[in-house]
Amino acid sequence: MPGMTLTEKILAAHAGRERVVPGEFVLAKVDLVLGNDVTAPIAIREFESIGVDTVFAKDRIALVQSHYVPNKDIKSAEQAKVMREFARRHQIDLFWEVGRAGVDHAILPQEGLVVPGDAVVGADSHTCTYGALGCFSTGIGSTDLAAAMATGECWLMVPKTLRFVLTGQRRPYVSGKDIILYIIGMIGVDGALYRSMEYTGSAVADLEMHDRFTIANMAIEAGAKNGVFAADAKTRAYCDGRAKREPVYLEADADAEYEKVYEIDVSQIGLQVAFPHLPENARPVGEARGIRIDQVFIGSCTNGWIEDLRVAAEILRGRQVHGDVRAIVIPPTREIYQQALREGLLEVFVEAGAAVGPPTCGPCLGGHMGVLAAGEKAVATSNRNFVGRMGHKDSAVYLAGPAVAAASAVAGEIASPEDL
C-alpha cells in the first residue's frame, strides 16, 4: 500500500481513519469554520432552519466582517447586522467589530487561529490560503457553513494530489505571486480541478510565510480544492507566540502517490503579469510594459502582507504616483496597519500621493473604495481579474505582485522596478 500525501494524512486524522484514498468521501471534524459578511448571513438563515439552539463550539467559529468594512450602504449594513446579532446571541468569541475587523484570510493566520495540522472550512473560496501553514483548508458553500456551524463537521471528497517541486534561486523582486501566476499560466484555470496542490523542493525553504500564503491563496484560481506546504522551521517560527492551539506537524510519506509531479526551476521565473480576464493569462512583465493604467490597488488577502507593503514602500519612497493614476493601498488587518504605521510605510504611501484605506477587501471585488469605470485599466495585487471583477464589465484588471504594482503606479503604465 502506498503512503499518503499531506492532504490525505490531515483528512484521515480528521475523519478518525487510519488512511483515506482519493475519491473517497469522508465526514471530517473541522478545527475552525469561517463565514464572512457576504456568506454568513445566508448560512445563518439555513442554520436556524436546522433547529438547534447552539453552535457546535463558540470558540471555533470565526465570523469576519471583510468585504464592506466599514459598511458602504444599507444592504451591507443589514448583512453586517445579521452577523453581529448572531455572534452576540451565540456568544461567538471570534467576531471583530469595525476597527479590529479586516480581510478574513489575513486575520485568521495572524491571530494564530489556524495552526499546522488543522482542517479548516470556510464559506469563501480563498479559505485555501491557510494551506501555507501545513493545514487542509478549503472553500465551501453557505449550506455547508450552516451545517458545519451546527455539527463541527463537513463532508469532503478526498482529492488526488499534484506535486510541485520547486528548485533554484529566485531572481530579485520575484515573489510568491510571480511563482503562482507562472504555475497557473502553465496548468490553466482548471489545471488542478478538484485536486490538492502540494509544494515541496529546495526552493520552498527560501519562501517566506507571506510568499506561501500567496501561493496557497491562489490554488482555487487553478480550480484546486486546496494548496499545501508542509510546516518547516519558518512555519514554526511564525506560529511561535501566535498559535492559539497546539500545532500538529505532519508531512507527506516518502512513498505517497501523486497524480502528477511538476518540476519547476524558480530561477527561470521573472516578474509576472496576468492579463485580463483570467489568472491563467500570465506573461512576463516585459510583454505588458507600456500599457497605460488608471488605477493601482495594493492589498487583499493575496498581497497585503507587511512584507508586500515594504516592497511597495521601498519603490514609492521619494517618488510620486503618476498624475493620471489613482493608487490605493489597503493593509488587510489592524496588526498590519499598525506595523506599517510604526515602520513609516503609510507615511511613504501618503507622501507619494497614494490613498491609504482602512482594512477591507474593498476594491478587490469591486465592492467599494476604488471601483473601476467603463474602459478603465488597473493593476491589482489581488487574485482575480475576471470580467467586471473590480467594477464595470468593460474595465480590465492586470494581476501582479507588489513590486510591479508600485512601479506601475509611478510610471503610469505597467512597469517593473528596473524601469524606474
Binding site: 432552519s49 436546522i50 458553500g141 449550506t143 455547508d144
Partner: protein, 167 residues
C-alpha cells in the same frame, strides 16, 4: 421511472441555469420558472417531473450561487447526467438534494428528447429510446444518504436528533 432527456453542451454556467436578474427571490418554484431561460427559453414549459438534464463538460461553472441547483430541482429534474461538474456546483447539488451523475458515455449516447432511466445507487443510465445501457461511477452511499434526506440541512437535522450525534 423513465423521463425525457434535455440535452446541452459544455460549460453550461450558473448564469444560464438561473440568470442573476432572478436572484432577488429565494422561492424555488419561481426560480424553476426561469430555469435555463438564457440557454433554452422553452425548457421551463417543456420539462416534466422525472425528466433528466444531460450535459457536457464542466456543468454549473461560474458563480457559486446555490440558486442554480435549487432551480433545477424545483423544475422536477430527477438527475443531472454530465461529463463533468464544476466543483462548487457539485457540492451545492448534493447539499440541496439534487442527484448528479458523471457518465461521459451516456452523454454521448443520448440525444435531446430520448427516454432515459437512471438507477442512482447503481450508477446505471439506460437509454430506453436507443436500448442502450451505460455505467457511471456508482453514486457514493454517503452522498445518497444526504440526497435521500432531502439535502444537507434535513440530513444534519436528522443526525443531530439522534442522541449523542453531537457529543
Amino acid at each position: 421511472m423513465a423521463g425525457r432527456a434535455h440535452k446541452y453542451g459544455d460549460h453550461i454556467d450558473t448564469d444560464i441555469i438561473i440568470a442573476a436578474r432572478y436572484l432577488v427571490t429565494a422561492d424555488a418554484d419561481e426560480l424553476a420558472q426561469h430555469c435555463m431561460e438564457d440557454g433554452d427559453a422553452e425548457f421551463a414549459k417543456r420539462v416534466r417531473p422525472g425528466d433528466y438534464i444531460v450535459a457536457g463538460e464542466n456543468f454549473g461553472c461560474g458563480s457559486s450561487r446555490e440558486h442554480a441547483p435549487i432551480a433545477i430541482k424545483a423544475s422536477g429534474i430527477a438527475c443531472v447526467v454530465a461529463k463533468s461538474f464544476a466543483r462548487i456546483f457539485c457540492r451545492n447539488s448534493i447539499n440541496i438534494g439534487l442527484p448528479i451523475l458523471i457518465c461521459p458515455e451516456a452523454v454521448d449516447g443520448t440525444a435531446m428528447g430520448d427516454e432515459l432511466e437512471v438507477a442512482l445507487a447503481a450508477g446505471r443510465v439506460r437509454n430506453v429510446t436507443r436500448d442502450r445501457e451505460f455505467q457511471a461511477q456508482p453514486f457514493p452511499a454517503f452522498m445518497l444518504e444526504i440526497v435521500e434526506a432531502g439535502g444537507l440541512i434535513p440530513f444534519t437535522r436528522a443526525r443531530l436528533q439522534k442522541a449523542g450525534a453531537r457529543e
